[in-house]
């Protein structure tokens, strides 16, 4: 059941060390324009920080933007940290330059969807709206 005031809350974070977040900001704005509440945490987020922010903000979705090529190390680490703080019911999506074979492994590690550059914004929004677990009301 959803209450009429319920909104989809998304944490947008950029794990890793590379310092620019233009892509993440574009996504954040598009999600806002689609009616979602975006908690934007910015660059250089560690898996610990992402898990802790997700917990405090009680988000429904976590969107991870990653360009650095360290996705195979960072994304499963984020999933692990989320499990450690007791979060196992959020939708986890990632975006970035990620090769096909890695996507399979990431999905096995608990990332629900991976969007590579060129994916239309609308399909990201649709995926989130269709799969978000609104289990809080």
């Amino acid at each position: 059941m959803t209450t009429n005031t319920q909104k989809i809350r998304v944490l947008v974070a950029k794990p890793g060390l590379d310092g620019h977040d233009r892509g993440a900001k574009v996504v954040a704005r598009a999600l806002r324009d689609a009616g979602l509440e975006v908690i934007y945490t910015g660059i250089r987020q560690t898996p610990d920080m992402i898990a802790e922010s997700a917990l405090q903000e009680d988000v429904d979705v976590i969107g991870l933007s990653i360009l650095s090529g360290a996705h195979m190390a960072l994304l499963p680490a984020v999933v692990d940290k989320l499990r450690q703080v007791g979060i196992d019911d959020v939708l986890i999506v990632a975006g970035g330059i990620i090769p096909e074979q890695d996507i399979v492994a990431l999905k096995e590690a608990g990332v629900h969807a991976v969007f590579t550059p060129g994916t239309p914004m609308q399909s990201i929004i649709d995926f989130i709206k269709d799969n978000v677990p609104l289990n809080k009301a």
Partner: protein, 339 residues
């Protein structure tokens, strides 16, 4: 999970339960009222500090510094940061955490972002309830950040026990601030970005305004209709008035923060000594009673209003045969509330 389990867990320090209960009150979940009833006896301990000001003046950076200062004093800190919802899409970007990255791993800190969503009444209720949930969770200081852009945010900021209004040179247009009523609610003025040369002028302008007596302090307390009807309980403090300080800060490096922390403590002491703390709480609670009554009455009217009556009223408003005031009377009569 039962609501009692959630509230018990919150009271024993479980952060995920705290986060979920804030979601419940924010969404007006059917169990929220019961949660608040369970938590209410545990509230009233925290010092509630409002931080408001025009967009980009440095509120979040200041909150970040304040929280760290309180952590050094071994106090537990909660932050509630409210940002506007886009009126076009209903979505929002809540970006205040960007300035508070250092606080994220600290178990003595809890940060929550909130979008303003629908009506002012709805926001006031959601913020008030979220503050109660944080208060019950045992935080010593609760920092409430709101953008002081309009009347609604000013209304929200006013509910804090100590209100800090943040100004910065070259940003907020002073006339706008006066119009929004934001200057009148300050207990402490912070002129942030004091590393900029024009900051001196901003501080001087504020001081001059204060000397001209532009900031009444006490009469604001009795602003609800119910409070003005209640002739038996005092709402105005009798003690000496508080002198509003104007303090320069550089929130990006912490300069001037010790003075702000000291002023906040002095203000709290003033509220205690003058008895104004209890008066502010009383004013806030009776305000909340009033808005709850308003929305509850509206809900009952809607629940009892036959659809054809509403349609008829709309038709008669359209053809100008009935004023909205007369239509309201007819609706009250239709639901059995005509006085």
């Amino acid at each position: 999970m039962s609501i009692q389990t959630l509230t018990d867990q919150l009271l024993s320090g479980h952060r995920r339960s705290l986060a979920r209960l804030i979601t419940y009150v924010e969404n007006d979940h059917p169990d929220a009222a019961e949660a608040l009833e369970r938590l209410y006896p545990h509230t009233g301990q925290a010092h509630l500090i409002g931080i408001t000001g025009a967009p980009g003046t440095g509120k979040s950076s200041l909150v970040n510094q304040l929280a760290q200062a309180y952590r050094r004093r071994e106090q537990r800190v909660a932050v509630l940061a409210v940002d506007p919802t886009s009126p076009f899409s209903g979505g929002a970007i809540l970006g205040d955490r960007i300035r508070m990255t250092e606080l994220t791993g600290d178990p003595g800190v809890f940060i929550r972002s909130m979008a303003s969503r629908g009506s002012l009444g709805g926001l006031a209720r959601a913020v008030g309830d979220a503050l109660k949930v944080l208060d019950a969770a045992g935080f010593d200081k609760i920092l409430l950040e709101t953008v002081g852009a309009g009347q609604s945010e000013v209304e929200i900021a006013k509910t804090a026990q100590t209100v800090i209004v943040v100004e910065a040179p070259g940003l907020g247009d002073d006339v706008q601030a006066i119009k929004a009523g934001i200057l009148e609610i300050a207990d402490i003025f912070v002129v942030n970005k004091a590393d900029r040369p024009e900051a001196k002028r901003t501080a001087a302008a504020l001081k001059m305004m204060l000397e001209l007596g532009h900031a009444p302090a006490h009469h604001l307390l009795r602003h609800s209709l119910l409070a003005s009807l209640d002739q038996t309980s005092p709402y105005e403090a009798a003690g000496p008035a508080w002198t509003i300080p104007v303090l320069p800060t550089v929130a990006i490096n912490g300069q001037g923060l010790d003075e702000v922390v000291a002023a906040i403590e002095q203000h709290r002491q003033h509220l205690l000594d003058s008895g104004e703390l209890a008066l502010r709480d009383r004013a806030r609670l009776i305000d909340e009673l009033e808005t709850t009554l308003q929305s509850e009455l509206m809900r009952q009217v809607i629940a009892r209003l036959p659809a054809d009556v509403l349609a008829e009223m709309v038709a008669r408003l359209d053809d100008r045969s009935l004023t909205p005031q007369a239509a309201a009377q007819k609706i009250l009569a239709a639901v059995g509330l005509a006085g």
